[in-house]
Subunit: 261 residues, 2 copies
């Protein structure tokens, strides 16, 4: 009998063709594709744990997953061996031996998501799968002002969509930053919000960005953010932003305590 190893994978994917990360009967998911590839490489049926359960259409540049195996395949061979099964929609770019207790979701200390908005009267065909298209100008300064209210330890009930497992609604947002890239030759501007927290509630990022978009369009004042947070009422926060603009950028752990490579 071989020893059981705990393998940590870091991967990126284009969420366009997937029904999210988490396995669902009758739907194509990232988890299922990972498990099928691991079966082919190791000969073992494993259960993959993902750090973030990205929704249908949401992308990842730094998703983390782990699985247990008795296979002896060297970790430095794993990415290339797995990637041949993914048709380039998924790419594992790091594999490490993790400590026995490492759990991609529960051990995560911080996650970072980005949300990209293409602001222009004209769509951008080459960005269309990875950005939300906002045809009218946005008051980005007002969005940045409103964003400040979300930084800190807050009760995010108003930005938490139904249908999720029960947990505390309190999360700590460490940073919510905005980057603007003018693309005058393309008749538009790329506006990207990046948010880092110790964890996110179901649809929390899309709900916050949906709120910020309403501020940017002048449908709300930037001061509304504090009021809506305090009310703890999902009805007040407006609609979630589209999935396509969202990307899981990074998941951070307390290395080297939990992971040794």
């Amino acid at each position: 009998m071989f020893e059981t190893r705990n393998i940590k994978l870091t991967l990126r994917y284009d969420g366009t063709g997937f029904h999210g990360f988490q396995r669902q009967a009758g739907h194509r998911t990232v988890q299922e594709e990972l498990e099928k590839a691991i079966l082919r490489v190791t000969g073992e049926k494993v259960a993959v744990v993902g750090a973030g359960r990205t929704d249908a259409g949401v992308h990842a540049l730094g998703q983390v997953a782990n699985f247990r195996t008795t296979s002896t395949v060297p970790v430095d061979r794993l990415p290339l061996a797995l990637n041949v099964h993914f048709n380039r929609e998924i790419a594992v770019y790091r594999a490490e031996e993790a400590g026995a207790r490492f759990h991609a979701q529960r051990s995560a200390k911080r996650k970072t998501y980005s949300y990209a908005i293409w602001v222009s009267p004209y769509p951008h065909p080459l960005l269309r799968l990875y950005t939300y298209h906002q045809p009218k100008p946005l008051d980005v300064a007002a969005m940045e002002a409103a964003a400040k209210a979300f930084v800190g330890t807050r009760d995010f009930t108003s930005f938490w969509s139904a249908g999720s497992v029960k947990t505390t609604p309190v999360r700590t947002v460490y940073d919510l930053a905005c980057r603007r890239e003018r693309r005058d030759d393309q008749g538009g501007e790329l506006v990207t919000f990046t948010i880092t927290a110790n964890g996110f509630l179901y649809r929390m990022v899309r709900n916050i960005v949906g709120f910020l978009l309403e501020v940017g369009r002048g449908q709300r004042g930037p001061d509304d953010a504090g009021r809506v947070l305090a009310a703890k009422d999902r009805q007040l926060a407006g609609r979630a932003a589209q999935a396509r603009g969202l990307c899981l950028v990074e998941v951070a752990y307390d290395e080297p305590e939990q992971v040794f490579s």
Copy 2:
């Protein structure tokens, strides 16, 4: 009877779902989509002329096209009116009144193409439709050295694929530049070649980049470029690079002589 106007359009598109720009029976093309949209907006069946006949899978950020119409629709309304018919795969972002003799292809003075290469052992799902994936390291310095041989007025017979209309094989390349962007967090580097010339022969950019890739992989020396150009033999130059990395970035004209907006 209304006066005939000559309309110049500037547009971008994702070439992934198209069989190139030029109309072909039984295939989905950018020209056909443009003509269908113009028919809906103006009520007229027009023939659209494109500046560059991009191949299947080739993208555009600055394609130029023109068509003649007796419609009185104002040019500033045209982009939005056309774009509703394109499902964001095509986007017209400029429309201008052009002089009667303006012809998107024949009046063009300079065209610029870019070719993007993702260099990494691991694919990049979010770039996969817009880059060529090179899994092994490239000697980019050798590619840049080889690229110098293509700048100037040259006979490009060796880089001209069969099947094209007869023309002179002599073209003037004004610039062939290389930009490198390290993406260490993503385990790779994005290498982009940008080439500007007074015109391009059929598949000339893809044939030149295919040659440069062989230099970068060490399959040829950088000095081969001059020898292959001098031989005027397509067999010597190697294989064309994949369509997906190629993008028509800009078409330049002698404004204001030929175009007035």
